[in-house]
């Protein structure tokens, strides 16, 4: 097992190198001049040239890239265009903890609610319960966050009108700030996980070993929880990786619309203001976290099913 982890870690830098190169070259080739657009109508040629030097934009592209990679190896993601030359890593550091906390909470919620929901649906096949649960799951899966958020906020406003107080519509810092963003962020991945759980459980219930277990006279409870559930879990684990992708993309909308100081919030502003160093920084960090989370998922996979070997 160890050499496999080792091999995965060896491939990690290459994945990241590819990501950095792509984001770098896209930023480099993007039309327009970020310094000019930064300076607006106050374009003094002396200062313009100085800013280009400060950001290394006066160098040929390959030198810029080598400098960027060199900095990256020392944990330096460059300087923000927008934030008066503040190091990108400074901007991202606090945001990462916020986004990570929110993401993990939402993911846990998706699993803790999604798996039981999927189970309930599967075990009550062809009943009203299944149809009800499926409708809820599909709705959560299908409603985009930018629709769900106004719905929740409208609802929250009605509560405010009726009760005189309600959840904070946005912001960060108090425990109640977590409620709405977590609901929205977990909705899509919850629907996704529940759907996969249901399918996976339905599939396992059809297997021969379940029939054998039942015919051995095992109690239904034992058949379900000891035999079936463990096997059904396997495909569920594999979708947690993609579910993380849902969370990452969801974070961009959720953090922006709830004014949460996470990486997503920062990225949206960086994109709208062409703050390329920040865009590059967030892309590299997000790519890194997705790669690492996938690795962890793969490893868990082999723990749950000893037959599965992680093959590099």
């Amino acid at each position: 097992m160890l050499p496999i982890i080792f091999r995965r870690f060896i491939s990690l830098p290459f994945v990241l190198l590819a990501v950095t190169f792509l984001t770098f070259i896209v930023s480099y080739l993007a039309p327009g001049d970020p310094i000019l657009s930064l300076m607006g109508n106050q374009r003094d040629p002396v200062i313009y040239e100085r800013l280009r030097t400060i950001y290394g934009l006066d160098l040929p592209w390959y030198e810029q890239y080598v400098r960027y990679i060199g900095g990256l190896l020392q944990g330096d993601l460059g300087l923000s265009f927008r934030f008066a030359q503040r190091p990108v890593i400074d901007l991202l550091r606090d945001g990462l903890a916020v986004s990570f906390g929110l993401g993990v909470t939402a993911l846990s919620l998706s699993v803790l609610i999604g798996v039981p929901l999927g189970l309930i649906a599967a075990l009550n096949h062809d009943t009203v319960i299944e149809r009800g649960v499926m409708a809820l799951i599909l709705a959560l899966y299908a409603i985009p966050s930018f629709v769900l958020i106004p719905m929740l906020q409208w609802l929250n406003y009605q509560v405010y009108l009726a009760a005189g107080s309600a959840l904070p519509a946005a912001g960060w810092g108090r425990p109640e700030h977590w409620v709405m963003p977590t609901i929205v962020l977990s909705a899509a991945s919850l629907g996704y996980i529940a759907r996969v759980t249901r399918a996976s459980v339905r599939e396992e219930l059809r297997q021969d070993y379940i029939r054998t277990a039942r015919s051995k006279g095992l109690a239904e409870r034992r058949v379900r929880w000891v035999h079936m559930f463990r096997n059904a879990l396997l495909p569920i684990l594999t979708v947690i990786g993609p579910a993380i992708a849902f969370l990452v993309t969801g974070a961009f909308v959720v953090e922006s619309l709830f004014s949460i100081p996470g990486v997503g919030f920062l990225s949206v502003q960086a994109i709208s203001q062409r703050d390329y160093p920040v865009i590059q920084g967030t892309t590299v960090i997000l790519a890194f976290s997705v790669v690492v989370m996938n690795l962890i998922t793969d490893l868990l996979y082999s723990v749950i099913d000893p037959r599965v070997r992680v093959d590099g």
């Binding site: 993007a30 039309p31 327009g32 001049d33 970020p34 000019l36 930064l38 300076m39 607006g40 109508n41 106050q42 374009r43 003094d44 002396v46 200062i47 100085r50 400060i54 927008r82 934030f83 008066a84 901007l91 606090d94 945001g95 916020v98 009800g132 409708a135 809820l136 709705a139 719905m151 929740l152 906020q153 609802l155 929250n156 509560v159 405010y160 005189g164 107080s165 309600a166 959840l167 904070p168 519509a169 946005a170 912001g171 960060w172 810092g173 108090r174 425990p175 109640e176 609901i183 922006s256 619309l257 709830f258 004014s259 100081p261 996470g262 919030f265 920062l266 949206v268 502003q269 062409r274």
Partner: protein
């Protein structure tokens, strides 16, 4: 499906109610003012020299004081300087600082701090450009910006309370420029102690100081008791950043904010009908103007009659009232209403399609062969507006108009290219101009004098140049100055130096019970004329 959706909504409402009931109700302090600033995740910097964003300058105005400031009527009034004298030739300003003026840490504000602050604002190592842009009239500023020297020869401390500023040429708006961000006075001791991070726990010279700066969220400001005016009665002023104006609106209407909206990010247009009749709604003309500029070096736009034809072919009233639903104010002049100088009337070119066609014919232009490419930055309502202009001009003039949408930074680069080499530049573009200090110079001299930095269309008229240059340096005769600007503006309007279309509106929400905040048309929207009169709302 409908019943299921209702059910899931019910489930969510139950959840929301439960959480609301269970969570402790946030205690609302009677003396807290909660102020949202939109369009940003954070301010760029609280160092007046490094800030570049309108939002940051709004906060800096609360934290740092200058020698002078703007009153609620947008006139220059004393701030840290109790008085000043201007020499006969208009080249030397001598300021006397208030006795006992002090920073928020209690240390005295001296003339040396003033010298240091201006030097800092022009210091090339900060990479900032707002200071060099606004303070370029100070003697020695160019040498300092270019890095040839580290001292600013034009600002000198005569004694602890007297500071002398020398300018290159007399200027009627120099004091106005000193009210803005980069001219704020900072503590040299505090900045030198930690040059890159001092603004995070800033020692300030203004009405408030920073208690907390929660990156990406907001700031908590507390009154600075050392400020020369009686301290604000607020126990704290919370600044909240919201990237999205709709988010701020949701917070406002659920009682979590007292002030929202700004010049650049007003309340969402779709929400205006909902709040228009509310006592919290405040609206004023923004000091900005949307316009089309033609490249005056390229035929046929070198012919004044062709430019006039376009102006006559533009139905501004329809654009403002119908297309933009009355959310803006149609204009056929350059100065926005409310700006000093706008009190003197200017005759615009009326909507007259027949006259427009006659002018084109007179200029010898065959409409069928005229193809205009109108460039614009893709942002906000721009698409909608240029499409209407395209339709109006095609219909009223019989020409062909092609729209050229450009990504914003490409648009900036193309404007720059057009300025540097008009022969290969844009033919015509749609854009916006707004002011950071309330003076007609910013709207006339800065954009339409021959070859000035923002005259991308290369409009040129010797009489306009002479009139504005004369007005720019009159320091003692406001009426005469306005008269000259008015004559110049009339020339630019008649010759269509710019084809102006409409002025924006600043639509904001300020809870009725908030006192002491004036909403203005300026770049940073709000002015607090007397900090001791600033009041929040009593607890609900």
């Amino acid at each position: 499906m409908k019943s299921l959706r209702t059910r899931s909504l019910f489930f969510l409402s139950v959840l929301l109610v439960l959480v609301t009931v269970l969570s402790p109700v946030a205690a609302q302090d009677t003396t807290t003012l909660r102020w949202s600033i939109e369009g940003i995740t954070d301010v760029v910097s609280l160092d007046p020299a490094r800030a570049t964003d309108a939002q940051g300058f709004t906060v800096i105005g609360l934290l740092h004081a200058g020698l002078v400031r703007l009153s609620g009527d947008l006139l220059v009034e004393p701030d840290l300087a109790e008085s000043w004298e201007i020499s006969e030739d208009g080249l030397t300003y001598t300021f006397t600082l208030r006795e006992g003026a002090a920073f928020s840490d209690g240390s005295p504000i001296t003339a040396a701090d003033v010298v240091w602050s201006f030097t800092h604002a022009l210091d090339p190592s900060t990479g900032a450009w707002t200071g060099p842009y606004l303070l370029s009239n100070i003697v020695g500023s160019d040498e300092l910006v270019a890095g040839e020297t580290t001292e600013l020869s034009g600002v000198v401390a005569l004694d602890d309370r007297t500071v002398q500023i020398s300018v290159k040429q007399p200027s009627a708006y120099f004091l106005s420029q000193l009210t803005f961000g980069p001219s704020k006075i900072v503590s040299s001791a505090a900045v030198e102690a930690s040059p890159d991070t001092w603004d995070q726990a800033a020692v300030t010279s203004g009405a408030f100081s920073v208690a907390e700066w929660n990156r990406g969220q907001g700031l908590v400001l507390v009154p600075n008791t050392f400020y020369w005016q009686p301290a604000s009665q607020l126990s704290q002023l919370e600044i909240v950043f919201n990237q999205d104006s709709e988010t701020a609106y949701q917070l406002f209407r659920t009682g979590e904010l007292d002030i929202m909206g700004g010049a650049q990010n007003p309340i969402p247009a779709a929400r205006v009908p909902e709040v228009r009749d509310s006592a919290d709604f405040r609206s004023t003309n923004a000091f900005n103007v949307r316009y089309v500029a033609f490249n005056n070096t390229l035929p046929p736009f070198d012919d004044v009659r062709v430019r006039q034809a376009f102006s006559h072919a533009t139905d501004r009233a329809t654009l403002a009232e119908i297309v933009l639903d009355g959310t803006v104010l149609a204009t056929d002049r350059i100065l926005p209403p409310g700006m000093p100088g706008s009190e003197a009337p200017v005759a615009g070119l009326e909507y007259n399609p027949a006259g427009a066609q006659a002018l084109l014919a007179e200029a010898g232009v065959d409409p069928a062969s005229l193809e205009l490419v109108l460039s614009y930055g893709v942002e906000g309502d721009n698409e909608r507006i240029v499409t209407v202009l395209q339709a109006m001009w095609q219909e009223n003039l019989g020409i062909t108009v092609t729209l050229d949408p450009l990504e914003l930074s490409t648009f900036s680069s193309r404007l720059n290219d057009t300025y540097n080499d008009p022969s290969t530049g844009l033919q015509a573009y749609y854009s916006v101009w707004g002011t950071i200090y309330p003076d007609p110079q910013y709207f006339l001299s800065q954009i339409l004098q021959t070859d000035v930095g923002n005259n991308n269309g290369h409009y040129s008229n010797a009489e306009f140049d002479a009139l504005t240059q004369e007005a720019d340096v009159i320091t003692d005769d406001y009426a005469r100055r306005i008269e000259l600007y008015n004559q110049a503006e009339q020339i630019a309007v008649s010759e269509v130096g710019w084809l102006t279309l409409f002025n924006g509106q600043v639509n904001v929400l300020v809870r009725e019970c908030v006192e002491g905040v004036e909403v203005t048309g300026l770049f940073s929207a709000y002015v607090v004329p007397d900090f001791s009169a600033l009041r929040g709302c009593p607890a609900a």
